[in-house]
């Protein structure tokens, strides 16, 4: 397979995952915003979006026009531009994806740029989130049922789970770094709300409830999001898929050296279980590992350099193409 094609498959899938992720985070926070005072809302947006959006973009989000920042195609961090980027990648590799996959991406791209739909969404934003969610789900279904489990599929898997793992880790980091309100009674209620919010942002609230019944404890939630083996939204689940896929890829392309997943995740799990050290550092290390795998992938299959030194996660710059 052409390196450029592998690259485009990978990015296409990453951008779809990212569009879905951003839409979900914004939706959750719009819901939550109605329960909060306006000043707090801005802080909240700032906290939960800082990992996903660059600061100037979220700073413009206000309660009055929360959808403006979303529907603006010139804002490179908005959902529409993620979809546009995914579609642009897809357009360059149409022979490697199915017609169904293209139709889904093209359809949502056209919808996001349709003035009538935008006007409607300005009034009823949930239609927007629904559109993105459904398109992402149908795109996934088209991949799951339409493609052979060959090299192309491996790059799609890696795009999906690297993006998902990294963004879950990032959202967790933001929540763990959140300042604790001074007032004790507010604190409990706020915390509850925000942790629920985090689970919903990761599309994991229902998964969590089934695994842990009604008990909503921050330490459980952190452990669940990082280490739960059976829930497809946990980082461990994502890393298991990444590990499998890297092995399958090494088998499919024997000419290249295999990429081995590092110990960041197992270290994090150990820290959590032994309560030995701050969780936030472990979460940062996971993001660093996602970044390293991303770079190794490029070096091995795309740019053809043999090795890349692991890099520390500094300031968590959002990876874009």
């Amino acid at each position: 397979m052409l390196s450029r094609v592998a690259d485009s498959l990978y990015w296409m899938r990453r951008y779809v995952e990212r569009a879905d992720q951003i839409a979900r985070v914004v939706r959750v926070n719009m819901d939550l915003a109605f329960d909060r005072a306006p000043l707090e809302v801005v802080q909240l947006w700032g906290r939960l979006l800082s990992g996903l959006w660059s600061a100037p973009a979220w700073a413009q989000v206000t309660r009055e026009s929360p959808t403006d920042a979303l529907s603006d195609l010139t804002n490179i961090d908005a959902v529409a531009s993620c979809v546009a980027a995914a579609r642009e990648n897809a357009r360059q590799i149409r022979q490697h994806i199915t017609g169904e996959m293209w139709d889904r991406l093209n359809g949502v791209h056209l919808a996001l740029n349709d003035p009538a739909r935008r006007a409607e969404w300005a009034q009823r934003p949930h239609g927007f989130f629904q559109t993105v969610r459904e398109a992402a789900a149908l795109f996934d279904a088209a991949i799951a049922d339409g493609l052979a489990r060959d090299e192309a599929w491996h790059f799609l898997q890696l795009g999906q789970f690297l993006e998902r793992s990294a963004s879950t880790a990032r959202l967790l980091e933001c929540q763990l770094r959140a300042p604790v309100p001074a007032n004790e009674s507010d604190r409990l209620l706020d915390e509850q709300l925000e942790w629920i919010c985090l689970l919903r942002a990761c599309d994991a609230l229902e998964l969590y409830r089934r695994r842990h019944r009604t008990e909503l404890r921050p330490d459980h939630i952190v452990r669940f999001l990082i280490a739960d083996q059976l829930s497809p939204r946990s980082i461990r689940y994502g890393f298991d898929r990444i590990t499998e896929t890297l092995a399958a890829l090494a088998e499919a392309v024997p000419a290249q050296p295999a990429i081995v997943v590092g110990s960041a995740l197992t270290d994090a799990v150990r820290v959590l279980e032994a309560r030995d050290g701050p969780a936030v550092e472990a979460v940062c290390a996971i993001q660093g590992e996602c970044d390293r795998i991303h770079r190794m992938l490029r070096a091995t299959y795309i740019d053809h350099q043999q090795t890349v030194a692991p890099v520390a996660n500094e300031g968590a710059a959002w990876i874009t193409r």
Binding site: L2, S3, R4, Q95, G107, A255
Partner: protein, 485 residues
């Protein structure tokens, strides 16, 4: 409808001028092979035609069958406007076209070999050597270079028009990187999808095998000794106006669609960068102009090509199709000599005629043309896509005066032709069916043999009365049905 019967309302605005009309022999009589279409037009309410036309437009949008328009805002994707009513060509008419194109392309291929080798046609005084040497698309680097089976032309799209007498004549030869074949195939698919009943009374010759035929011809011209050639399609990239077509053809042929950055040359051998490392490439079906193929040999600022590609080509390690330098034979001034080439190389009379052509570096021709600009069509010799041309009868005094200055500044760069009353074909418009001017671009594939694909792209000038059919100038297209015997 028989003679004398009143035309149904759908034809209320159907005007009959001096152009040959594809459907109507006379105002009240349609040609026999249009029976089926005419019957449908008379029996199906206009509203339903509109619905089907709408469904067709939608099919193009949802399939992303688009082209990119240059010169407006960067990279605007559009659909190529499509008219649902097919254009019909009878078996007898096609027989002439097929023989004529085979003859013409055989001669052009001989000419290309001759230009870059012995120059017999110059020595015989048939074509002036100077004319060819001054041609913008002449490639000095190709002199003495051998190409597999002496096959320079792999894909040709020749533009034909029908004059008032109904005969097809050749308007221009496209011998470099002709495009549009995906629309030919897409149009057929869409008509089948939205109005299958139209086919009921017809035996339409199939065209769907085009990609397989192309692949077969590309295999034929692989470098000598290459058993299972690796074939790729080289595209300038996603911003090219024909990008959709490139992806479509690569997909249909199941070959890699590569950009210049996907290839590299090492030891005069071309390789593709793949996830498994470097893979040798044997045949490149290029959709990139000569100028941009290799920055070391041609345009040095080009980022579309591959450094060292031409050397690998000259060494015979890779085939490039169409060959480098074919543009010298579709120069619009060289075009005037094609009938003479046919007589010279094949000792045959041309089956398809040229349009009368004035060469503007000939003083007598130039004087005539400058006096008659308002009646003639003037075209730059090395352009395609309808860019930079003047249609005299539809031009303003200022446009003519500008063209006059251009001609006087560089006469070799222009030719002029009489304005041809292109034939008209029925098209669906807002309130019925009206005639619009059309041309025909059949596609011809060559390798060791020549295949004329039974069909082609019928381009339509969608503005009432307009004679310009190019997609880049607001033209549309129709499905083209070549009827079986």
């Amino acid at each position: 409808m028989s003679d004398g019967e009143v035309a149904p309302a759908i034809f209320a605005n159907y005007t009959h001028g001096r152009s040959y009309d594809e459907m109507f022999e006379k105002a009240d009589k349609h040609r026999p092979h249009y029976d089926g279409i005419h019957h449908r037009l008379c029996s199906l309410p206009l509203e339903q035609w509109r619905e089907r036309q709408h469904a067709a437009d939608l099919a193009f949008v949802t399939h992303g069958i688009t082209f990119t328009v240059y010169g407006r805002s960067e990279g605007v994707e559009r659909i190529f406007p499509f008219d649902l009513l097919p254009r019909l060509v009878t078996a007898a008419e096609w027989h002439v076209v097929e023989r004529g194109l085979t003859q013409r392309i055989t001669a052009l291929n001989h000419f290309l070999h001759d230009v870059y080798h012995d120059g017999r046609i110059f020595a015989a005084g048939i074509v002036p050597r100077r004319l060819v040497r001054e041609c913008r698309h002449f490639r000095r680097e190709m002199i003495g270079v051998s190409v597999p089976h002496d096959s320079y032309l792999t894909v040709v799209g020749t533009d034909l028009v029908r004059g008032p007498d109904g005969r097809f004549v050749v308007l221009e030869d496209n011998l470099r990187v002709p495009s549009g074949v995906s629309y030919m195939l897409g149009n057929r698919q869409v008509v089948k999808q939205v109005y299958p009943q139209l086919f009921e009374r017809y035996h339409v010759r199939p065209i769907d095998h085009y990609p397989r035929m192309l692949l077969a011809h590309l295999r034929e011209i692989a470098p000598a000794g290459c058993v299972d050639p690796k074939i790729v399609l080289l595209t300038p990239g996603v911003f090219n106006s024909a990008y959709y077509e490139h992806t479509f053809l690569a997909h249909e042929m199941a070959i890699d669609l590569v950009e210049g950055r996907d290839l590299l040359v090492h030891d005069n051998t071309v390789y593709a960068r793949t996830t498994a490392g470097l893979e040798r490439v044997d045949v490149i079906y290029r959709r990139v102009d000569d100028d941009y193929l290799d920055p070391l040999t041609f345009e040095s600022k080009s980022t579309l090509g591959v450094a060292g590609l031409f050397n690998a080509y000259r060494a015979g390690h890779v085939t490039i199709a169409n060959a480098v330098g074919t543009g010298v034979a579709d120069d619009k001034a060289v075009y005037a000599y094609v009938p003479a080439m046919i007589r010279f190389y094949l000792s045959e009379d041309p089956i398809l005629d040229n349009v009368q052509t004035y060469l503007l570096d000939n003083p007598a021709d130039r004087a005539y043309v400058l006096d008659h600009l308002a009646e003639l069509v003037v075209k730059p010799v090395g352009e395609s896509g309808g860019y930079g041309m003047l249609v005299g009868p539809h031009s303003t005094a200022q446009q003519r005066s500008e063209m006059r200055d251009c001609i006087l500044a560089n006469p070799r760069n222009y030719i002029a032709q009489p304005t041809i009353a292109l034939s008209t074909a029925p098209c669906l418009v807002d309130d019925g069916v009206e005639p619009r001017h059309v041309d025909l671009r059949p596609y011809v594939l060559c390798g060791r043999s020549i295949t004329v694909v039974p069909g082609g792209l019928t381009r339509v000038a969608l503005q009432r009365g307009s004679l310009v059919v190019n997609s880049s100038q607001g033209g549309g297209s129709k499905d083209t049905w070549v009827l079986g015997d």
